[in-house]
């Protein structure tokens, strides 16, 4: 199976060639704007009226796909090519039952009768291990979870036994523990059928675990192709190296390693430089790079689009800049540090609507428990990382600290003084001390105000400076986040995602808050930009010595940035550990699963992920006892289901674990499975 493509009008994809053998999984990795989605659409011949393949051709077996007419194309889509899309929600028809949508394929493609099609559907639902296939088949898409929707789509794609399967970021919208299960499922199912798989993603870890060969795309071009092990241990293109350096790995911490962001940003489509497309951002660009490099064969099955690949291979030049050493004063949990923020026994619930009947009888409102008896302490000048999957209540905690969400029970203390939970009852000084940077940069800044207008408000309102002084401070602030004064006159619409996040950070630190909350500040950014933002967060904290509550679903990022880490699961804290201890056993079983579920780039660590069964519990109906007992792989019986655990404290590390299993038992079993290189299974 061969595939080749040439120029496009706007050159969304330029001069890309690769081939996928039957039974092979080819990974295509790239940041947003690299052209990978366009490439997928081209492979599917689904470019629509706005796009067109200018030159080159795509072959499926011996069949040129460019030559196909509409009729033949439909045949091919139905029988030979299948896609698992990124967003399962929008790929299923919301008004047709799930089973019907799958059965339709069997009726039309395989000409099965209705009852036979139904049977086939249920069989496939079993194959993708949907719990209770019959119930799922009669559900509408919105009635099943995202993970289950994705299983349905996998069943649809595989049921036609395609010769080419295209996976377009199939797990990007899913939680890590679900992602691990889905990816292994896909891996298992495709190994049964002899098909070619094109796997498109931005997640390097996933690629390294599941693909046989990897192509790296940058700004419409394929810049490197190799086996994942070779690619990640010894990249032959500066861009690949840059990508690897900008992601924090497990165990890397801010005290030891400074991340290496790739400078600049990806050029807009059709506006790339002449010569090597990566030249403006490349640390080792030289004269010859003004000529466009071709894809040089680089030994073995490797290809690199870099003039200097030989020098890189021989380590004659180092793409890795030596990380500047970081002086940083030691900070332990040492006593003497005052506490910036304390949460004591905080519970938060969202009230549900009462029925009219209940209202008239004066029954109290029922609530959905979002956060249950959370105790957290953030010592001044330190970073607390709060990690959890979606629905774990981490954002709710942040909102309650900010006064945007009232709490049902508990106390929030700022500098040991209890503060009201309602924003309207807090004074300006309290507001000044607490600031937050929201998750979505697109809505973090008012699109109708210039950056300067937004940034000067905290100075005027919270610090009481006159306008002229505030404007001068804005310039300082912009420089502190490595932007120029010219940005003060720009509107958010004119900024890139990374620049917007810098401005949002600037707004957050403007009032010199004692506590800055960062709610998933980098999860919507591209990998190469993420590193720069993380470095900036570190730098700013060193300068103004504030405390940070860093919220993320990404354990590696949290592990890199935080001094202390708290793991939360459906509103209950599971584990609190110092950064240096989090990745060392004993772990809470949930933390253990979480750590193992994250695909690692490092080719050496190839442990199997622990599979968590089932779905996150429904917040209306949180399990009794330990909330994790329904999915816990180390479930020890009755006690887990009935009694809430107590906090156990590891005397050596002060690590706190919310579990019934004695720490010694956790330690011995987990140390064993780590040394085996296998998970629980």
């Amino acid at each position: 199976m061969a595939y080749r493509q040439g120029n496009d009008w706007l050159q969304a994809v330029r001069d890309v060639s690769f081939h996928i053998n039957a039974g092979e999984t080819y990974g295509l990795v790239g940041e947003s704007g690299s052209g990978k989605t366009t490439l997928v659409l081209a492979v599917l011949r689904y470019l629509g009226s706005k796009g067109s393949i200018i030159s080159g051709d795509i072959y499926l077996g011996d069949q040129s796909m460019r030559a196909l007419d509409d009729q033949e194309l439909r045949q091919m889509w139905g029988k030979q090519v299948a896609l698992v899309p990124q967003n399962p929600q929008s790929s299923l028809n919301p008004s047709i039952r799930v089973g019907e949508q799958v059965a339709e394929i069997f009726r039309y493609q395989n000409k099965l009768s209705e009852p036979d099609a139904k049977l086939q559907t249920l069989e496939w639902f079993q194959k993708v291990r949907l719990p209770d296939p019959e119930r799922v088949a009669t559900s509408y898409p919105h009635q099943i979870s995202g993970g289950m929707q994705q299983r349905v789509l996998i069943a649809m794609a595989l049921s036609i036994s395609p010769s080419l399967l295209v996976l377009d970021e199939p797990t990007t919208n899913l939680d890590v523990t679900i992602q691990a299960v889905i990816l292994d499922l896909i891996d298992e199912l495709i190994s049964e059928q002899n098909m070619a798989v094109l796997y498109v993603t931005h997640n390097l870890g996933v690629i390294s675990r599941y693909c046989d060969r990897v192509g790296v795309m940058y700004a419409s071009e394929l810049v490197e192709e190799a086996h994942p092990k070779e690619l990640f241990s010894e990249p032959l293109h500066p861009y690949t190296q840059g990508l690897l350096d900008s992601i924090p790995q497990f165990g890397e911490t801010k005290d030891r390693i400074r991340l290496q962001p790739i400078l600049g940003q990806i050029p807009a489509i059709g506006q790339g430089p002449s010569g090597c497309i990566f030249r403006p951002r490349c640390p080792v660009a030289i004269e010859v790079c003004t000529n466009r490099p071709s894809l040089f064969p680089a030994g073995g099955n490797r290809l690199s689009r870099c003039h200097r690949w030989q020098e890189i291979a021989l380590d004659d030049i180092s793409v890795q800049q030596t990380p500047p050493s970081i002086e940083r004063q030691q900070k332990g949990m040492a006593e003497g540090r005052s506490q910036t923020l304390e949460l004591e026994n905080v519970s938060i619930s969202f009230p549900l609507q009462r029925s009219l009947n209940d209202f008239l009888r004066g029954k109290p409102r029922k609530g959905v428990q979002a956060v249950n008896k959370v105790d957290l302490v953030i010592p001044s000048g330190t970073t607390l990382g709060l990690v959890g999957e979606s629905g774990s209540g981490k954002t709710t905690i942040a909102r309650s600290i900010m006064g945007l969400q009232s709490i049902r029970a508990g106390v929030i203390k700022l500098h040991k003084v209890s503060i009201p939970d309602q924003l309207s009852r807090r004074d300006l000084e309290t507001l000044r001390q607490l600031q937050i940077v929201f998750q979505n940069p697109q809505e973090a800044l008012n699109p109708h105000l210039t950056v300067g207008e937004t940034l000067r408000r905290p100075f005027i309102r919270l610090l009481g400076l006159p306008r002229s002084e505030a404007d001068a401070k804005v310039i300082d602030l912009l420089e502190a986040v490595h932007l120029t004064a010219a940005y003060a006159n720009r509107y958010p619409g004119e900024l890139s995602g990374g620049e917007i996040q810098r401005v949002a950070l600037a707004r957050g630190i403007a009032s010199r808050p004692d506590l800055l909350i960062l709610d998933e500040p980098i999860s919507s950014l591209d990998v190469s930009v993420q590193a720069a933002i993380l470095n900036l967060v570190n730098e700013l904290q060193r300068d103004i010595q504030n405390s940070i509550l860093f919220i993320s679903h990404n354990l590696a990022v949290i592990g890199y940035l935080a001094d202390q880490i708290a793991v939360i699961y459906v509103g209950t804290l599971m584990e609190i550990a110092r950064q240096s201890d989090l990745f060392q056993p004993p772990h809470h079983p949930y933390t253990e699963a979480l750590i193992s579920a994250i695909p690692q780039i490092d080719p050496q660590t190839s442990h199997l992920p622990i599979h968590l069964d089932g779905e996150m519990p429904d917040p209306v109906n949180i399990p009794t006892g330990c909330p994790f007992h329904t999915r816990c792989p180390r479930f020890i019986g009755e006690i887990c289901a009935n009694t809430a655990p107590r906090w156990q404290i590891d005397p050596r590390t002060e690590k706190r674990i919310f579990c019934h299993i004695p720490l010694e038992d956790l330690l011995s079993s987990q140390a064993q499975s780590t040394s085996d290189g296998t998970g629980l299974e």
Partner: protein
Amino acid sequence: MNSISKSSNNGLGVVPSWWRRLLQFFQQLFSRPVSGFGTAITLVFLIVALISPLIAPYGANEIIVADARQPPSNEHWFGTDNLGRDVYSRVLLGSREVLVLAGFGTLFAVLFGTLFGLMTGYQGGWFDEITMRIFDSLLAIPALLLALLLLGTIANSKYSVLLVIVVIYTPIVARVVRSVVLAVKPQGFIETARLGGESRTRILLREILPSVIPTLSVESALRFSYAIFLVASLGFLGVGVQPPSPNWGLMVKEARAYVTLIPWALFFPAAAISLVVIGVNLMADGVKRLMSPDQID
């Protein structure tokens, strides 16, 4: 689709003044033939309304008995009516009455509607519930019926017509504004402003209002065209304005009886109504395209 966001990207790095933005906005309106046509008609009528006393050859109620019921001629471009009044002059002078009433009515309705919309949308709760239910009940009654009802109970004058327009259109504008506020309110930058200790007034006027403006300008243009129609309709029904006012609706009503004899006395004011309503509507359509390009097909 060149939306207005381009205006700020003028390469000079300077924030364009409101005046420059307005000019640019009109330029874009004229760049499409249809909306350009509508805008031109609207502007012509507005200018005529402004200078009509200067250019009208006769007074609105100047009766030239000898020239009664004359067809259009050099002397009287649109002919004369049953009483011998110059129809051309009356149409010109009538534009002032119609456009001023409709214009100010729309202006006040937009002002009050924006105020209520911002407050109900941002505040929520009981205040929102009560205000919106009152508005709902006003909206449930057909506009013309409500107008007749109101004019029947209050003084039958020009100013009552103005009041009627305000009462009828305020709830509609408020609803539209409120829906935009509800969409903007949960966004991060509003919460950031609240956490920055900003006052409610400032959040409403500086943070939320700019997002409302695009929708509001489309709505204003639409309301204006409906208001013109309403003023003319009320004139035709003989409420609110009294003869011998040169209200176009009233002129149509008066000429109706003699339509076979002097059709021009009916045709020209009727044409004026149609033309200005069509013009404003086409302009509103153009504004809509400029303000929210993604909402059109």
